[in-house]
Symmetry: none
Subunit: 222 residues, 2 copies
């Protein structure tokens, strides 16, 4: 049930207070005083949600928001110092999911965090494609209620595809994402797709489709 929350806020009392409050609410929290190393934290820790102060030393909240949108799919809540419609609109337009106006009551912040997590279906990170459920946190895969055992590679492959279901993913892309290769060895992907399919299709129709000449898509039968 716990979510990972990354807090970027320069004012020490607020940063600490928010951190304690969120931890008490059962979430895992990491804090930063500025935007340094923001990308690394996003990529490595993969937070479910990011709390961004708009006014920061160095890169401001809007810049970090853009970064977050491009390199992760975490939810983003902005902390705006002013009540100005301008900031608020700019935040929403740039892609924030919500915003909280300072000064705020901690209880309200917690409420908004949980509301967003619930709205995003991220109080549990479960990706669903048709009757297939991929629980990213628990590393569990179920189809039609039945648990499916996958090897590490198969799981990484499926998780990556599930994260962008409906989109065509090239073999080269899979190779770099799952294996970290940069040289092209298409057959490697094919072999593992084949194995993955055998397990998935033991419980239902095909979900992992081939798009000849382009790659693969994970898509529910229509």
């Amino acid at each position: 049930m716990a979510a990972r929350v990354l807090v970027v806020e320069d004012a020490e009392p607020i940063r600490t207070g928010v951190g304690i409050a969120l931890t008490e609410a059962g979430h895992t929290v990491r804090t930063q005083a500025d935007g340094d190393g923001f990308e690394r934290e996003l990529a490595e820790w993969q937070p479910d949600l990011v709390l961004l102060d708009v006014m920061l030393p160095g890169r401001d909240g809007f810049e970090l928001l853009t970064v977050a949108r491009e390199t992760s799919n975490a939810g983003v809540i902005l902390l705006t110092a002013r009540d100005g419609v301008e900031d608020r609109l700019r935040g929403l337009r740039t892609g924030a999911d919500d915003y909280v106006v300072k000064p705020f009551v901690l209880a309200e912040l917690i409420a908004r965090v949980e509301a967003l997590l619930r709205r995003m279906g991220r109080l549990r990170t479960v990706l669903e494609i048709g009757d297939l459920a991929v629980d990213v946190e628990a590393g569990l895969v179920r189809r039609a209620g039945q648990e499916i055992e996958l090897t590490a590679t198969e799981y990484k492959l499926l998780a990556f595809l599930a994260g962008r279901s409906g989109k065509v993913v090239g073999k080269t892309q899979l190779l770099t994402a799952v294996w970290g290769y940069d040289d092209y060895a298409a057959n490697l992907v094919e072999v593992h797709v084949s194995a993955l399919r055998r397990k998935l299709e033991a419980h239902g129709p095909r979900l992992l489709h081939t798009v000849r000449g382009s790659g693969y898509v994970l898509r529910p039968p229509s």
Copy 2:
């Protein structure tokens, strides 16, 4: 960057105003005054996002929300007439992605629409030519709701033409864009255009026209 937005709202001024504002923001919009034919529109047009007024004649917004959730994966924003916590909670519980309280400023509605689309990773590049839709990200082509299967070359050809629909594109231009050739082999293009037409025209009139001596145009019938 355009998204397809379906607006269901009985009050004419709001319906029209929202429609115009969204269109100006670059989206494709369809509107309905009530829930009649809602299912058909969902299935055939496959909107990315649905704006639902809560208070509608016939089936209300909550009912339509349930329908949308069951039969599509469009995002849903509710327009609630009252500021009542009850409606808002019911909406979020039933699964709305966001809600906007009437009366609202158009700029805020647009901002929320775009915020949701971005959150969903659905600011998709969908090119539309008449009843033909080319979804570049998903590699999908649909005509009149029917999915059309294309080979890699046919797809590249269509995507290129769709990207400059209404303009005449020469064969040499197509050759360099799709094949990367620099030598002239007109018949190669003709063969693939022929194959492409056969598939497209199985579901409707000609869209891909020959301009004798110049090349081809993709244009809706008028």
